[in-house]
């Protein structure tokens, strides 16, 4: 896409993108005002945009409109969040902050319940079942995978899971006259778990590196896309 085909808003966006990209790249030379300006603009724009979205996408359609022109049931359900919101708003005043505690307790309680329930039902139990099923040879035969490979894969996952958990076991025995030490068996298993943890962190870092490299490529591509039409124009 050439610059000639862009409208004014797209052209402004392209220029701003180029300017802010170069400003962020200027951090290679150290901290400088350009970088600080770019960061401040990003933070400010994000906060302002979030506020606008919250108003137009949440408060106005889900709170104001039901209060103004909603039915009786909508009005009733809208008053509850209004009351709780006002109580939370009182947290800004030290004298009346205690009145906001019930609303905050309601929010924290609902959030914790949702997170814990989801973790138990969505992660712990399914992952435990998955680890058990990895050693199911019959299931492996039904899927067509050789049972040896399935067994080896399950064994690796089982060893990695157990050894990683053992690594975070810090129990020890105290011998008379000697400092507390781990038992040798736990030490060996935890060393294996340390290997698995190191590999996991390496994979995570590789993913971060790949994401950053992709972002870098996309920025270089955008710069080229901005300048190449100018260079190609006779």
């Amino acid at each position: 896409m050439s610059l000639a085909g862009l409208n004014l808003a797209e052209l402004a966006g392209a220029v701003c993108g180029l300017a802010f990209t170069l400003a962020v790249f200027s951090y290679l030379l150290g901290d400088n005002p350009l970088f600080r300006v770019a960061i401040a603009v990003f933070v400010g724009v994000t906060a302002a945009y979030a506020l606008v979205v919250t108003w137009y996408n949440v408060l106005w359609p889900q709170l104001v409109i039901p209060l103004l022109s909603g039915s009786r049931s909508e009005l009733f359900f809208a008053l509850a969040p209004v009351g709780l919101s006002l109580l939370i708003f009182l947290k800004a005043f030290p004298k009346w902050s205690s009145l906001g505690n019930p609303a905050m307790a309601f929010l924290v309680g609902v959030g914790a319940a949702a997170a814990i329930g989801g973790a138990v039902l969505g992660t712990l139990i399914p992952q435990a079942n998955a680890s058990i099923n990895l050693l199911d040879v019959q299931a492996a035969g039904q899927s067509g995978m050789p049972w040896m490979i399935k067994l080896a894969e399950g064994t690796v996952i089982l060893v990695g899971t157990l050894s990683s958990l053992v690594y975070f076991h810090f129990g020890s025995r105290r011998a008379p006259g000697e400092p507390p030490r781990r038992s040798e068996a736990i030490g060996v298993v935890s060393w294996v778990g340390q290997l698995f943890i190191a590999i996991a962190f390496g994979v995570l870092f590789a993913g971060v590196y790949a994401a950053a490299l992709t972002a870098f490529l996309e920025r270089v591509q955008s710069i080229l896309a901005f300048f190449l039409p100018l260079l190609a124009t006779p």
Binding site: P61, Q62, Q127, N133, A215, L224
Partner: protein
């Protein structure tokens, strides 16, 4: 306590007056230096003249008395008893000639016989004569107006003021009545000093030259009837405070009539007219404190003053072997004068002589010749300070003490310290140092230097002008940027698309499984910073969905998500040529507030969680979403996120409610390791995964529709090669530099 009894100074119990020792505690009742108690009827005498008839200069000045002085002042009987007794002891033969020549005729006012002026000391005798002359002198008449002020002409304004106040004319009849009133009021004045002060004759001060104009004005303010009374008054009674008057009234009753009183006329107010102010002249003759014999004895027993101190503060004319009790100084002098201010004409000779002699006598040395100096051990001598500080706090000079300005102690100096003595200690100029050997001093110096430098930060080494880190950073950037530019320009060669992994294939199969035109929920939950990678990974899947004609329902749990979703759909539609429109082909429901709770709410009742679309329209009333009651009604759920936490929230909160609806994850490469386990489970919680640029490129390969990911894949490969090359080169340089530095350090260690 009656006069026949005496209180023991030790136990405080009463004893008969004739006993020498206390019958209770056997303590001496009378101090040895105390003279015999005064017998009733014995005449008191004034202070004796010095033997030899030598009169000091200051005492001789009293002889030059103005004949026209004011009315005499009566002295207290107890104050003159001691002096009179001494005068009797000396005899008339020892009187100087000037005193003999000054002998006055008997007093017409009934003066006691025994109290002849010849028995008085010369200065008291002179005062006595003056008082008699004043009493015999005719009363001053004010018939012609206010009396002329001697020496000064009264100003007009004062004369007018006096006339306005209506001064009564003085007549002989008034004088006689005033005398009678004064005689009647003498006992009252002794018992009630304030009244006596009010009844004191004011007009008698008029002829005095020492009285100033303002005193005239004050005198006129007094009641005129009593002010014109020329009767003699008790000296000092009017000026005594109440407490002193009580002491006097209790211990030394004065005879009421002029016959019975042993009066000793003192210096009239006009005596000191040349050197003393008028107001002060009224107090010159009155003693500071009048004590009776018993109180004197009690004072002598409680705090006997050394004879040397008494001699030091007593004029030589008054000194004797047994000092009179009336001369016992009180604990606090009524007035303290600094330096020679007391003596306007200079310090008298007798005081100079007393100053020269008194210190030698007043400070007896307490020598202890038997005590030998202690010998300290050597180790104690070593620890002994070389120069001790001052032995005690520096005592402030008398001139630095504060003079009380208010209260009962007004006029007294240094009675109450204005601040604690601790705070007033002057800092000693001497330092305390221990005598220590040189070795210890050196060690102390080393320790002090270590402690001194411990809190200080060592100056940082100066870095080279071009920091190595900055150079390497810029160098790496240039290498990567060059590789990227060359690859994007097609100069680095084209790389083939990667083989598609199983999660990507499963994701494509899940998309292929949805019916055409089915509603698909797409959650766009990635930050703008990851839009490059996420757009490349999600574009082929969205392209696939558009190919299937799916109705895209866009939601987001991030505030920036709706904008990202709008931009993503429009970009993919534009690049792939689908021309997707938001009216009938997709709906942007906007932002789901509440985070994890919001996701759960939306998963349970999506229409209640997001009733309106981002543009405010009622999207759920549309044709495609009208039948949607829960997430299970969607044909497919696609979650686009770079965050493992967001991916886990959707999996944990929404996936259990999906039923048979598959869930496909499009994630960043950094979140893939944490999301992958949900794909590996059996049954799978995540049906398919597209992770990062590689996943997008694989998906495009499956679709055989190269897109955004395929355009970046080649450059991504070259960039990875460049990064690997940089790592290898950096590692090689590190190894070589380490190998080169190792022999040096080894050699240096061997040398050490």
């Amino acid at each position: 306590m009656s006069m026949a009894e005496m209180r023991c100074p030790m136990c405080g119990k009463e004893n008969p007056a004739e006993l020498e020792r206390c019958q209770h505690c056997q303590a001496r009742l009378r101090p040895l230096e105390t003279p015999a108690p005064h017998e009733p009827g014995q005449e008191a005498t004034g202070p004796a003249t010095p033997p030899g008839g030598e009169v000091p200069d200051w005492l001789g000045s009293f002889r030059q008395v103005d004949e026209g002085a004011a009315a005499p002042l009566e002295t207290e009987e107890s104050a003159t008893e001691a002096g009179e007794a001494e005068a009797l002891a000396l005899g008339e033969e020892e009187l100087p000639e000037w005193l003999r020549s000054e002998e006055a005729p008997p007093s017409p006012a009934g003066e006691p016989e025994g109290a002849s002026p010849g028995d008085l000391p010369e200065w008291l005798a002179a005062l006595h004569l003056e008082s008699e002359e004043a009493s015999m002198s005719p009363p001053v008449r004010y018939d012609d107006g206010p009396p002329p002020h001697p020496g000064d002409q009264e100003p007009d304004w004062l004369r007018d003021l006096r006339q306005r106040q209506g001064v009564e004319k003085f007549t002989p009849q008034l004088a006689e009545e005033a005398e009678e009133q004064a005689a009647d009021q003498v006992p009252e004045a002794q018992n009630a000093p304030p009244k006596a002060e009010e009844a004191a004759p004011q007009e008698t001060q008029e002829p005095s030259e020492g009285i100033t104009d303002w005193q005239h004005i004050l005198d006129q303010d007094q009641p005129p009837a009593k002010a014109e009374t020329p009767a003699p008054r008790a000296p000092g009674e009017g000026e005594l405070p109440a407490w002193l008057g009580e002491i006097k009234a209790a211990g030394a009753p004065t005879p009421a009539g002029p016959e019975g009183k042993a009066e000793t006329p003192l210096e009239p107010a006009a005596e000191g007219e040349e050197e003393t102010p008028g107001w002060l002249s009224r107090f010159e003759g009155s003693p500071a404190l009048i004590l009776d014999e018993e109180e004197q004895a009690a004072l002598a027993a409680e705090a006997p003053l050394p004879a040397a101190e008494v001699e030091a503060v007593t004029p030589a004319a008054f000194s004797s072997e047994e000092p009179p009790q009336a001369e016992i100084p009180s604990s606090v002098p009524p007035f303290i004068f600094e330096g020679e201010d007391l003596f306007i004409g200079g310090v008298p000779d007798w005081l100079k002589a007393a100053d020269e002699e008194a210190p030698m006598e007043s400070a007896p040395e307490e020598s202890a010749p038997d005590l030998a100096p202690a010998e300290l051990p050597t180790w104690v001598e070593a620890m002994r300070p070389a120069r001790l500080a001052a032995a005690g706090p520096s005592i402030l000079d008398e001139s630095e003490k504060e003079v009380e300005g208010a209260g009962p102690l007004v006029g007294l100096r240094g009675v109450l310290p204005v601040e604690p003595e601790v705070a007033r200690l002057k800092k000693s100029s001497l330092s305390v140092r221990l005598q220590i050997p040189e070795k210890q001093a050196e060690r102390i110096a080393i320790l002090e230097s270590l402690l001194r430098t411990e809190g200080k930060t060592a100056p940082a080494r100066e870095k080279p002008a071009a920091a190595t880190q900055n150079i390497l950073r810029v160098l790496i950037f240039l290498v990567l940027a060059l590789a990227a530019v060359l690859s994007l320009l097609g100069l680095g060669g084209q790389a083939g698309l990667p083989q598609f992994p199983a999660p990507v294939f499963d994701a494509s199969q899940a998309v292929n499984a949805i019916p055409g035109g089915a509603a698909v929920l797409v959650a766009v939950d990635y930050e703008p910073a990851f839009s490059a990678e996420m757009d490349a990974a999600a574009a082929p899947l969205l392209d696939h969905l558009m190919l299937k004609g799916a109705y895209l329902t866009l939601v987001s749990s991030l505030p920036t998500g709706p904008a990202q979703a709008e931009r993503l759909v429009k970009g993919v539609s534009l690049r792939a040529g689908h021309h997707y429109q938001d009216s009938g082909q997709y709906a942007n429901l906007g932002y789901i507030p509440g985070g994890t709770s919001g996701v759960l709410t939306f998963a349970e009742i999506p229409q209640a969680a997001l009733p309106f679309a981002a543009d405010g329209s009622r999207a759920w009333e549309g044709e495609k979403l009208r039948s949607i009651r829960s997430l299970a009604d969607f044909a497919l759920v696609v979650v686009l996120t770079e965050s493992p936490e967001v991916a886990r929230a959707w999996i944990e909160q929404a996936q259990p409610l999906l039923g048979t609806t598959p869930m496909v994850m499009v994630t960043s490469a950094q979140a893939e390791p944490l999301v992958r386990p949900y794909y590996e489970t059996t049954p799978r919680q995540v049906t398919g995964m597209v992770a990062g640029l590689a996943g997008g490129a694989g998906y495009e390969r499956i679709l055989s529709r190269p897109g955004l990911a395929a355009g970046l894949w080649g450059a991504f490969g070259n960039l990875n090669l460049a990064a690997v090359a940089i790592m290898l080169v950096a590692g090689l340089v590190n190894v070589i530099s380490g190998a080169l530095a190792r022999p040096r350090s080894g050699g240096s260690e061997e040398k050490l």
